[in-house]
């Protein structure tokens, strides 16, 4: 029975047991591989790499036997979002247009993880090119949330775009997973599945080898079962990288050492603009309780104003599609992936147009075309430049409250708990975009943000709170998050039905 439970350990518990010689990386890896095999119904893992995992576990056990200075992630089995290029392993951003693509190189973030001794179990489901909030735009079919409403077996969305990562961590298929976050793609699925998700400061993690969506917003981060694990995993993922000119040349602090538990005197802001009309009472209540918990821990709670908040989503839906239309121009059927079959007499333009029509799903096509429109001659100033100006104002809002001494900002993570698969199918695209209403400001301003589970709704589904930190202060943010975590004492786990 012991080995059955290994896959549900936190990273820090497993690390301590591995170092003490109580368990081996090989046992831990086998426990995860068995859990994955039994969890086909979740559709979280889409490409499995058991040979790589077993070889890495063997090397980790060797490293653990040889010395006491093995890094924290030595022997820890992880899942990798399909957006990360992994050498020789399918990496297709959940898109049909990259079917069969096997990169000849490794992303910096995953290479950092392997160098730190981590074990790769396989690739995780996601929304196509990270465009979505439900994991329903994936070419692999949707992932399923391990949580269900009480007494109801309606399949629920794990959120998106990092939906497979969230489902896998919540269901105990891996100890942690990589995610990426362009508008909320780590924090929203983390909230939907009762786990912790951290989007670091823009530039903390290298973007090299991560399939690009919107380059000025994309950032990789850890998805884990608690705050300490997020600190450990972030430390291994990030660091300077000459291959990404926007990756910061800053030393990596010891994020775990920042978890002192002492947040006395910290000033935490509650932004009034995040109180939305029609927000469910449960979310409002959770938010109030979160503020109370931080006050109880010795923090000072202050009301703040971020006046341009309501313009964040419209600005995002200009900037992100504009950057996507440019980044996704490379999928043309020439260098990699899918190429459409041509009829006699069809030439290169038909090849591009048919390839992209066949290879991109509806949401990706829609965003590429919206991006093309807002960048087109005559509209560039009215849409794109205006959105970039509004973005500057959104960032300034945050700078002003930080200048007044606010050290972190508390908000809800999402406007609702997880919704059912297909429930949003008839809604217009804008309704789905509203999922990111609390998270997207953070990407526009380049700030670190963390979502952590703080309670259950009346139907027994997890709800998350978000803390937003100052640039490059992930350590401080994680410390405040842990103070909230220990008081929220969220211990609920999904009942196993898969």
């Amino acid at each position: 029975m012991m080995t059955d439970a290994l896959n549900t350990l936190t990273i820090h518990e497993a690390r301590d047991k591995l170092r003490a010689g109580e368990i081996t990386a090989a046992e831990l890896t086998e426990a995860c591989l068995s859990a994955i095999e039994a969890a086909g119904a979740l559709n979280a893992f889409v490409h499995l790499t058991p040979e790589i995992a077993r070889a890495q576990a063997k090397a980790a056990d060797q490293r653990l036997r040889e010395g006491e200075d093995a890094p924290a992630l030595t022997g820890i089995p992880l899942g990798i979002k399909d957006l990360f290029c992994t050498r020789g392993v399918p990496s297709q951003a959940a898109s049909a247009i990259l079917k069969g693509f096997k990169p000849g190189y490794e992303s910096t973030v995953t290479q950092n993880l392997w160098d730190a001794g981590a074990v790769m179990l396989g690739k995780l489901n996601m929304d196509e090119f990270a465009m979505g909030s439900s994991n329903e735009t994936s070419t692999y079919g949707h992932a399923v949330n391990p949580w269900r409403r009480a007494g109801d077996d309606t399949p629920l969305s794990p959120g998106g775009s990092s939906g497979g990562s969230a489902a896998a961590v919540a269901a105990g298929l891996c100890l942690g997973a990589t995610g990426t976050d362009t508008g909320g793609s780590i924090r929203q699925p983390a909230a939907f599945t009762g786990i912790t998700g951290l989007k670091p400061t823009y530039g903390r993690c290298s973007r090299w080898g991560i399939i690009a969506f919107a380059s000025s917003l994309d950032q990789a981060g850890p998805m884990t079962r608690d705050v300490r694990d997020a600190a450990i995993m972030l430390g291994a993922m990030c660091g300077p990288d000459d291959k990404d000119s926007t990756c910061a040349d800053l030393p990596v602090p010891d994020f775990e050492a920042a978890l002192t538990g002492d947040i006395r005197g910290k000033k935490i802001g509650i932004p009034r603009e995040y109180r939305l009309d029609g927000m469910p009472d449960e979310i409002e209540k959770l938010w109030r309780q979160g503020a109370e918990m931080l006050r109880d821990a010795g923090a000072e709670i202050v009301d703040i104003s971020l006046p341009h908040t309501k313009y964040a989503l419209p600005a995002y839906y200009v900037i992100a599609p504009a950057e996507a239309s440019s980044n996704l121009a490379r999928y043309d059927g020439v260098r990699y992936g899918h190429r459409a079959r041509l009829e006699a007499g069809e030439g290169i333009v038909e090849m591009y147009e048919k390839t992209r029509a066949e290879g991109f799903g509806d949401e990706v096509q829609r965003r590429v075309m919206v991006g093309t429109y807002v960048l087109s001659a005559g509209f560039y100033d009215a849409y794109y430049n205006r959105a970039r100006r509004v973005r500057a104002l959104i960032k300034r809002d945050f700078e002003q409250v930080f200048a007044e001494g606010v050290e972190a900002i508390l908000t809800p993570a999402t406007p609702s708990a997880a919704f059912g698969i297909g429930e949003m199918a008839d809604a217009d695209p804008v309704k789905m975009y509203l999922n990111d209403v609390f998270t997207v400001t953070v990407n526009l301003a380049g700030l670190p943000g963390i979502s952590l589970p703080a309670g259950l709704d009346a139907q027994g589904l997890p709800l998350g709170l978000q803390l937003i930190g100052r640039p490059w202060e992930e350590g401080d943010l994680l410390n405040i998050a842990q103070a909230l975590e220990s008081r929220a004492a969220f211990v609920a786990r999904p009942e196993k039905w898969w």
Binding site: G104, G203, S216
Partner: protein, 95 residues
């Protein structure tokens, strides 16, 4: 602002995505909904505000202008749908 079918057709072509004729009216409608949402930005006073170029006020890193990589023809062509004699192959471009 409402997008007509003709504009939808033009945008699809600019984006190099084939959209069947009968799909165009629905697509135009979706664009109109999204652009209607975006137009809230017109309420904001952006007078004197510079468009944001980068979220971190940092100078992009530079390196010496020297060759750091190369001689990987086989690796680069390995994922191509059609590669011949060391080149990517495409349909005839010049008559």
């Amino acid at each position: 602002m409402s997008i007509d079918t003709e504009t939808a057709r033009k945008v699809a072509h600019l984006a190099r995505i084939r959209v069947e004729e009968e799909r165009l009216p629905a697509l135009a409608q979706e664009f109109s909904a999204i652009l209607g949402f975006i137009e809230e930005l017109n309420e904001v006073d952006v007078e004197g505000v510079e468009p944001m170029v980068s979220v971190s006020p940092m100078r992009l890193k530079r390196r010496k202008d020297v060759v750091t990589d190369g001689n990987r023809q086989e690796e680069i062509l390995a994922n191509a749908p059609d590669a011949r004699e060391g080149f990517f192959a495409v349909p005839k471009v010049v008559e």
